[in-house]
Structures are given as C-alpha cells and as structure tokens.
C-alpha cells in the first residue's frame, strides 16, 4: 500500500479551479488578519493584566470590548476559506480531519468556551476584578490550543505518507507531531498574531486620534512596539521554519519553488520594512508594509502546500463540470452585500463611536 492508495477520489468542480484558488487565497488572508488581531490583542491584554497596575485597566477595558467582535469576524472570515479549501483540497483535508477527529471536533467546544470567556470579560469587566486575568487567560490559552490543532490539521493534510498510522489508531487522536515543520510553523503563525495585534492597537488609536478625539498617552507607541518586537522574533522563527521545510519546496527550478522563493523574498523585505517603520511609530506605513508581508506569507503558504502535494495531486487535475450561473449569483450577491455593508457602516458611524 502506497500513500497514494489512501488518497480519496476528488469530486468535480463547477467552475475553473482558479476561481476557487483566488477566493481561497483572498478570504484566507482576511481570516488571518482577523485571527491575528483577535489572538494578538487578547495576548497583549493578558500581558498588560499580568504586568498589573491601574494604568493598565483602560487599555484592557478597550480591548475587552473589541475581542468578541474579532472572534465573530475570525469565525466568519474562516468560513469562506474553509469552504474553498474543501473545494480544492477536500479529499486531503477531510482525511486529515478524520485522522485527528477527536481533537478537530474539540475545536468547537474550545471555541465556544473561549468565546464565552471573552463576552464575560467584556460584559462583566468591572465586576470581575482579580478574575479578569484568569478569564482572559482561559480564552488566550484556548485560542492557542485551537491554533495548534488547526496547524496540525493543515500540515497533516499535506503529508499522506504519514496517514497509514491510522491503521494503528482510528480513534481520531492522531496529530502531526512528527513533522519537523509543525512547531516552527505554529509559532510563526502565532507570533505573527501578537505582532498584528499590536499593530491593530496602534491603528485603532491612530484612527481615533485622527478623528479628533483624545487618546491616552503611549497607546500608539505601545502597539507599534509590540508589533516590531514580535516581528523581529518572528524573523528568527521564520528562518527556523524555512530551514525545516523540504528542499523541494525551495527548489527554484520548479514553478512552485520559484513562486515560493519570490513570495518569500517579498515577505521578508516587506516584513523588514514594517519592523523599521514600527520602531519609528509610522503606523499607517507600518500597516501597509505588514499588509504586504501578510499577503506574501499567505502566498508562501499556498506555494508550500502545492509543493508538498505535488507527488499526489495538482489542482489543475480537478475535473470541471461547468455550471457558471451559481458563480454569477454569488458575485452579484457579494457585490450587493458589500454595498449593504457599507451602507450599514455609514449609518453606524453617523451615530458616532460605537459604544456598548
């Protein structure tokens, strides 16, 4: 039995695969941003609590109101890429999900608990007193556990050569712990979250300030410092991650390898710029550089997946049974949805700052 023997047969797709690849990449990018802001701001709020002092409370209270929003949007923006990744790679992802099913399904329970904790942290902030850090630490811990499980699943789907372990363990308790890329990949992702969380704080207060309202001293600087420091650390982790990747991924003689290297260089350069800009508190410029770095890293991630699966599968192999009218419907609804979204935001901003 070879690894290829275990790979399920893929279902047909209704439109050209490139549509799904684009939708996957774009929506995943937004999911990453939302997730980074969610987890990153939660970490920063927790560290701020731990550092202590009354001065920390206003920042934490501000963040407490935002974190449930970010969870909602992280989940919402996660739905779309999860949909499109199943269209292109479902036969890999369903398999890896089943292999680690017990852990994978626990994500739902953990997420409900974490989500509940953040609402408790928000709505009962003043009543919680000393328990604030405890409640938030539960949420943060669960965010990190969930992220670890996601990293396991999306790396496990790429390595069919390890799937035969199922025959000794069909209880859904397999993880991809033997994969040397797992830990650096996970850390790279989560430290990025801390960085983007810091950047989000800086951007938020910058936005408030630009609307002519006063903000407490040092908030923008604090956010930028978190960003740059975390991103510096992430450079180290990133190189460890790079080192752990198989040579085939980095082989520039292949199209995917070349794409990987170009995207990686783009990511490193824009990431480097963002660190410098962050240290000098150029918030919006930092955000643009970080935005570029994240885009490049999302592309790097796609290139890695393509190379990993190359011995077994290429998305171009998916059979198309054409039916474009549902796509058209989606595009129309999407465009109309954007318009309604903007209209609703306009109404909301007419009220002024959104307060609970």
């Amino acid at each position: 039995m070879t690894p290829a023997d275990l790979i399920p047969v893929a279902d047909t797709i209704p439109v050209h695969w490139l549509w799904f690849q684009v939708l996957l990449t774009v929506t995943f990018f937004f999911h990453m941003v939302a997730m980074n802001v969610m987890a990153g701001t939660a970490v920063i709020a927790l560290v701020t609590h731990i550092r202590g002092g009354d001065a920390s409370l206003p920042l934490c209270r501000d963040l407490a109101k935002k974190i449930p929003f970010f969870i909602a949007f992280t989940v919402n923006f996660g739905v779309a890429p999860l949909l499109f990744v199943q269209v292109l790679y479902g036969h890999f992802m369903y398999t890896s999900s089943v292999l680690m099913a017990s852990f994978w399904l626990s994500v739902i329970i953990l997420l409900i608990i974490a989500y509940g904790c953040t609402y408790l942290y928000d709505f009962k902030f003043d009543e919680l007193f000393g328990s604030r850090a405890l409640i938030l630490s539960i949420a943060v811990t669960l965010f990190f556990v969930i992220a670890f499980l996601f990293t396991n699943n999306f790396s496990l789907m790429q390595v069919p050569e390890t799937w035969s372990r199922y025959f000794n363990n069909s209880q859904g308790t397999m993880l991809n712990l033997g994969d040397p890329t797992l830990i650096p990949r996970y850390l790279h992702m989560m430290i990025s979250a801390v960085a983007v969380g810091g950047l989000a704080i800086a951007l938020y207060y910058d936005f408030i300030q630009r609307r002519g309202r006063e903000i407490p001293d040092g908030r923008i600087q604090l956010g930028c410092q978190w960003f740059s420091a975390a991103t510096c650390l992430n450079f180290v982790i990133g190189f460890l991650f790079l080192d752990s990747l198989p040579d085939a991924v980095k082989d520039v003689s292949t199209a995917s390898g070349l794409f990987f290297v170009i995207s990686l260089i783009g990511g490193i350069v824009s990431g480097g710029f963002s660190i410098v800009l962050g240290f000098v508190y150029k918030v919006r410029q930092t955000a643009i550089a970080a935005f570029c770095a994240l885009v490049f890293m999302v592309l790097v991630r796609e290139a890695v997946r393509i190379t990993y699966l190359k011995p077994y599968f290429n998305v171009t192999e998916l059979q198309v049974v054409p039916q474009y009218s549902p796509l058209l419907l989606f595009l129309v609804v999407f465009a109309a949805g954007i318009a309604v979204f903007c209209y609703m935001l306009k109404l909301a901003f007419q009220v002024g700052e959104v307060k609970s």
């Binding site: 039995m1 275990l6 790979i7 399920p8 047969v9 279902d11 047909t12 797709i13 209704p14 939708l23 449930p68 929003f69 909602a72 949007f73 989940v75 919402n76 739905v79 779309a80 949909l83 499109f84 199943q86 269209v87 479902g90 369903y94 398999t95 999900s97 089943v98 292999l99 099913a101 017990s102 994978w104 399904l105 739902i108 997420l111 409900i112 509940g116 709505f123 199922y166 069909s170 209880q171 859904g172 049974v321 039916q323 009218s325 549902p326 796509l327 419907l329 989606f330 609804v333 999407f334 949805g337 979204f341 609703m344 109404l347 909301a348 007419q350 009220v351 002024g352 959104v354 609970s356």
Partner: protein, 880 residues
Amino acid sequence: MNYPVWSLDFAGGGLLIAMMAIFHVYISHFAIGGGLFLVLTERKGLRENSQAILDYTRKHTKFFLILTLVFGTITGVGIWFTIALLNPAATSKLIHTFVFAWAVEWVFFSLEIVSIFIYFYTFGRMDPKKHQLIGWLYFIFGWLSLFVINGIIGFMLTPGFWIETGNFWDGFFNPTFWPALFFRTFLALMIAGLFGFLTSSMIKEESFRLKMVRYCSLWLLIPIGLFLVSGWWYLTSTPAHVQEMIIVRMPELKPFLTAFQWLTPILILGGLLMAVRMPRPICRAMAVVLLVVGILYMGAFEFIREGGRRPYILYDYMYSNSILKEDYPKVRETGVLQEAKWVINKEITSDNTIEAGKELFTLLCMPCHSQGGVLNDILPLTAKYDRFGMNAMLTGIGKVNRYMPPFAGNDKERDALAAYIVHRLHGKELTEGVEVDIISEKDVVPPFNGATDEYVLLAWNTLGVHDLTDADNYWSFHPPGNDIFAQLIKRGEVPEVVSAAVVVSYAVEKAFRNPSDHVPFWNNTSSLLGRMVPSNTGLTGNGLTGIMKYGQQGAFVAEGVPVTPYPDGGGYQPYPKVTIEARDQGGALLASTQVVVPVSTEMGCKNCHGGPWRVDGRAGFSDKTAADILATHDRISKTDLLARAESGDPVLCQSCHLSTGKKALGNQSNLSLSAAIHGFHANYLSDREDDACNACHPNNSTGSTHFMRGIHKAIGLTCVECHGYLEDHALSLLKKEMQLGREKAAYLMENLSPRSVESIQDVQPRSPWVNEPDCLNCHVDFQPPEVVATFNEWTDSEEGLYRNRKEISDAIFCAACHGSPHALYPAENPYGQNRDVLQPMQYQNLPYPVGSNKNCSICHTIDMEEDFHHPNSFTTFRNE
C-alpha cells in the same frame, strides 16, 4: 469507501451530530424568528411610546446576541465539522455541488453579524427609523440564510430532478424547498416566542411582565396553525416511499412521531397558560419548561426528517455508508474491500476473516451504529444471532426493512462481517452446527406370510413430515395433526380393494399418547381456534388411537391425529410409529401393519430469531424464539401480537394469513401464509442452495430430523431440483398473490430475482399445497428421467398431487406402494434402518416400492407378466 472512518464506539450512531445539530438548529431558528421579534418589539415600544418595552427589547437583544453568536454561530460551524468527520464523502458532495450557495450564505451570514452588532451597540442612540431598518436588514439576512440552507438541506431529502440532470438549480429548488421554507419560517417565529417567554418572565413589574408574556404568547400561538399546515404540505411533498419510511417503516422514528404529536398540544396549552397571570417564579419556571419542550419538539422533527432519508445520506444518490447507488452493482461484484481505500485486508482468507470482518464493520456499519452507545447501538440489535443468522440478516437488510442500505459486499465479505459481529462483538464461538447424536433403533418388521395371509394392509402418512409449531403460548400455524391413510387389499389373482365390512383402527405408540403433557396447544385452543379442543384430541376429533373411516378418496383415513415428537419418557422422536389393524366385523384380525407418523418441531426459526431449542437441545420452540418472531412481526407489520400473546391471547397465523387447499383458513386480503413466510424469508436467504430450505425445514444435515429421507435424497437430489431455489419458490407463490390482487406481494418481490428461469415474467404462479411439482414432469410416462429439474411445472389441482394420485386403474394410491412424499421407498431413516420401510420389508423383505422387482404376488398371489398399475412398473428396481 473513499475515506477513513472515525471509530467512535459508544459515541457513534449519530449521537454527535444529533447533539450538535439540535442545539444549532434550535438557536439558528431563534436567530431568524428572534430577529423579527426584536424589530417588531422595538416598533411596538416606539408606537406605544413605552420606554419599558424599549428597555426590554434592548436587554433581549443582548441575550439574543450572546446566544446566537456564541452558540448559534459556533455550533453551525460545528455541524459542518461534524458531518465532515462522520460522512466526508457526502459532505464533499454537498460542498462541491453547492459551493456557491454556501458562499452566498456566507455573505448573508457576514451581513447578519454586522447588522446585529450595529443593532445592539447603537440601540437607543441611532435614529429610530434607521435603527429599525438595521433590525429589518438583520432579519432579512437571517431569513435569506435560511432560504439558502433550506435548499441544501432539502436537497439531501428530496434531490428531485438533480439525480438526472446534476443541475444546481434542480437540486436547490427541490420538491420540498418551498414547504420546508414556510415550515421553518413559522417554526422560527414560534421559537422566538419561546425565547421571549424566557426574558419576559424575568421582568419584575407584574403588569408589564404579564403584558410582555402575553405578547410572546402571540408569537407562539399565531404561527403554530400555519406551522402545522405547512408541516402537512412538507410531508406530502416528499415522495411516497419517504412518507412510508417515516410513517410506517422506521421503528426508530415512532417515539419521535409520538413526541411530535404530543408536544404540539402541549405547546399550544403552554402558550395559553403563559397568558394567565401568575407569580414570577412560576412564570419563569414555565418559560424554562416550554423552552425545553421546544427543543424536544425541534429534536423530534429533525430526527423524523433525518429518518425519512434512510437508507441514504443523500436521497436516492448516496447510501449512508457513503457508497453511491450507481456504484452498488460494481462494489458487489468486486467486493467492498477491493474498492475501499482505507483497508489492509484486501482479500479474505481463513486467517484474516475476523480482521477483514472488522474492516467491513468499520466501513459499512460504523457510519450509523454505535457500540454500547445511546443511539443505534448495534449490540442489542445483533445479540440474538449466530453466524448463520447474522449472515442471513445481512443478506436481507435493505430489502424488507429498507431503512438500512443493502449489504454492499460479496458472499465472503458478508460471512466475514457476520463472523466478526458474532465472535468479536458478542464473544460467541464460530463453530458450525454440531451434529446431533441420533440413536438408531432396531425396528421389528410386522409379520406377513405370503402363503397364508389373505390381506395386505398398506398405510402411509400423507406428508413426509408434519411440521408442528409447538409455540402455542405465542402463536401457531401448524397445530398437532397428522393424516394417516390405509388401504386394505384382499389378495387374489385379481385383488380387491376392501372398502366395507371391516374395521380399520390405528394406535400410535403408547409413549406418544399424552401429547398435551408435552406441548401447550391444548391450553390455548380457545385463543388460537376460537373453541375448546379436548386434551390429546386433534382438530377433527381424532385421538391417538381410533377407528379409520373409509372416505370418498378410496382409503381408510384418520385425519388430524394429534401426534407430537415427544414421548412420555422424555426426549425427541420425530418418527413415532402407528399400528394399523384391519378386523372383520366379528373382531377377527385380518391384517396388521405399522407406519411412521413423522412429526417434527425442528424448525430452524431460532437460527435467526435467537433462543435455544426447547427440548433436549435438538427441537422445539423456546419462548425466546417464539416471542422474537412476534416482536419482529409487530415491528414490521405494526401489529401487537407479542403483547396479545403475553396477555394470554396467542393467535393462529392463519387467522390473518390465508392457507389454501382444502383446509383453507384465513383472511382473503392478506398474503397467504406460505407466500408471506417464503416471500419474506427469501429476502434473507437468497443466493443459497438447499441450505436455505434446510435452515427452516427440519432437514438440516446436522439436525435431529432429516425429514427428506427417500430415494431422491439417496441419489443426491435436494429440494431445489423439484421446488426451485428459495427465490424461485417464493416468487411463484408471490406471483399468484399478485394475480389475486394482494398488492403486498409486490413489496416482497421487489428484491427477489429468479434463478431457475430468466425473469419474473417466466415464473409460473402457483398456489401453495395445490400447485406442486408433478413426479411425471421428470418421470415422463413413468420412465427414468432424462432431466432432473421440474421447477415451474405445477400440478393443476390438489387432485394431481402425489399424495392424492392413484395408479392407472384408479384403485391404489401411489403412496400405498411408494411411501410418503419425501420418504419414497427405499427410504433411509436415521432413527432406524427399517423405520421408514416397514411395509416393503413386511411384504417383500426388500426396502423397495411394494411390488417392485416383479413382486406382484404380494397382492396377486401369482407372478404377473406385464405392466398394469403404470408403465415401467414391471421391472427390477434400478436404484439399488
């Protein structure tokens, strides 16, 4: 087949998806109806200029926000996760077919989140009209999410034209799309009322609480009528076989249907009671109770909807074991293990049977069954089976009880799966039937002096064996009653069949004269037959000894002699002997002989229905077996036979199922007993040889009766050569039922294919006990057969049956010289070398037919020179 299967054991059987789905569906419907509740309640507050109502609405919004976002949203993703883990193939199909519907729903979902956040966080601060607009937008997006999801869920139950076209729109706007949409919309409004009770019952100020609780009552009570109407529309929009599955076929759905019926008035009553003024704690407690009732109501509906889809996960397209309907023939041919990707044992050998069976179990059973769990636990469902019974059950699944997929694999795989379930799950040994030890007795042949005796007395039992059903405390279809025939021949050059001026008596062996001590028939005759029958007396009034009457048939007859196979000393003897004596009117003995009255209770029902033998480990119906038969009948045919039996009111099967022939009984509208029994069981015992017959009839090679003991057995014939394979046999009976307008036969015929002829059209319909194989089909003109196969050529009437036929002169019954059916001379009886050839041995000292080998002098007193009784009779027995 394509994907690995998550071994869930006790948590299997759909428990995970049930838990996740019921919560999600309840909350997600609340998210829709509750959205309308919010905006209309806000409007009410504004119109009435009531700050109290607006404050209530704002608090309710907060509760709504947390509940729908934290639990509703995440459990929604949870359903997706769960179905992908439990049935990745079906999930993949749904994703790939409806990817842009999901994507559209994602847009609506996003807008829902944005709008509810804005609605809550700007409550009281935004211009009221604009704020209500946001509320309306929330409701519209929520309802549009339902619109989209409803299309996909409806597709799973009623894919409609999608099956042929594969077109997105055909699948989406499927036959139940609109009724389900209305149904769910009204349900969502009702649930909004139920959650409204929860928050409004907490209002402290009594009059305002009463006002708001009554307002919530309207949300529950106004839509419920429309909900029920749309529910009926929904049900009637499903295909007839889905309705049948929901209402008739699926026993597991019964509690949910009952729950749905009972909870509807409870909800209405609850809604009315809530409008009554009551203290806050009681009001709150009732609100909680109604909320729980609501989730039970929703759960019952979801179980019913899921059940209606059985045996498919995607109706008429993909079975719940993930195998496509169109792939079934191929999988059956090549085998599941060859087709499946996630198995180690691709071939079954004697060394890996259990392990291969385990893999088959994982692929085929685990998707729906738990092991020791709450839902669909396979352990009690399979506990009664041994390997044979389990195999038969697997053969029949999906054929009669169509809520399970048909078994997908080949014969070896079916056996391996049966072996795994029986051995590994239940710890039973896999030994095949242990041969019953039978002691062969030396029977004394009655005397005959050819030189001096003036009479020859020939006697026979009309059947090769009487299958006695001694399950009388539960049911019966064959009460005690053997028919004994005798002919007295006055010897001479021209012999004479004596019909008068003699008294012919019979006497069953003494040890068998107290059958009421051994079977419970006589305790139950009132219930079974509607009349009292004296102990040890047959239905005709005959006892174990008596006088035989000369009948129109041309023989002395004792009908319905209530013999059983249980001698007073204990044990089991299916071949008791009866002594026949002919005397003149003065009492002088003219002739005497003996013959067996074969009767057996070794009917193999226990092979599938469980339970042990009742007597000596070799025969008889135990209570467990008998009760299980009724339980199965009750489950499939919606009867209450077991309850009736347990309350002392057992039934005769023929009280509903007609028996044919001259002893016809029963109800004309139901299938005849023979057609019902053979038609039903042929679905479970198909693709077998005569082992299918012997599984039920007392002819198992390791059993205690061996009723087929005549010459045909000795030369290697089985049931199949004359009666056809079980499928053929059943189809011939069922076709007759169809001709008689008993449409139920069609259901049993649907999954049966004839094996002796090309198609069902070629099967000749027949009535049981009337149209049977004719000996002369093979023995053309009484000659040795050239072809030994006679399925489909039936006797025209009962008169044509072997047991009723006579030789050419119309004087002597065939059976008088050749013996009973299935025991044609020279018959071999395991209970005694001479037991079944007593008369041939008595009159000619040979076990062959009486008069064979030119032994004409037995009756004629002199040698004859030519055939008389039938062609080819004046010859030497050829099968020595």
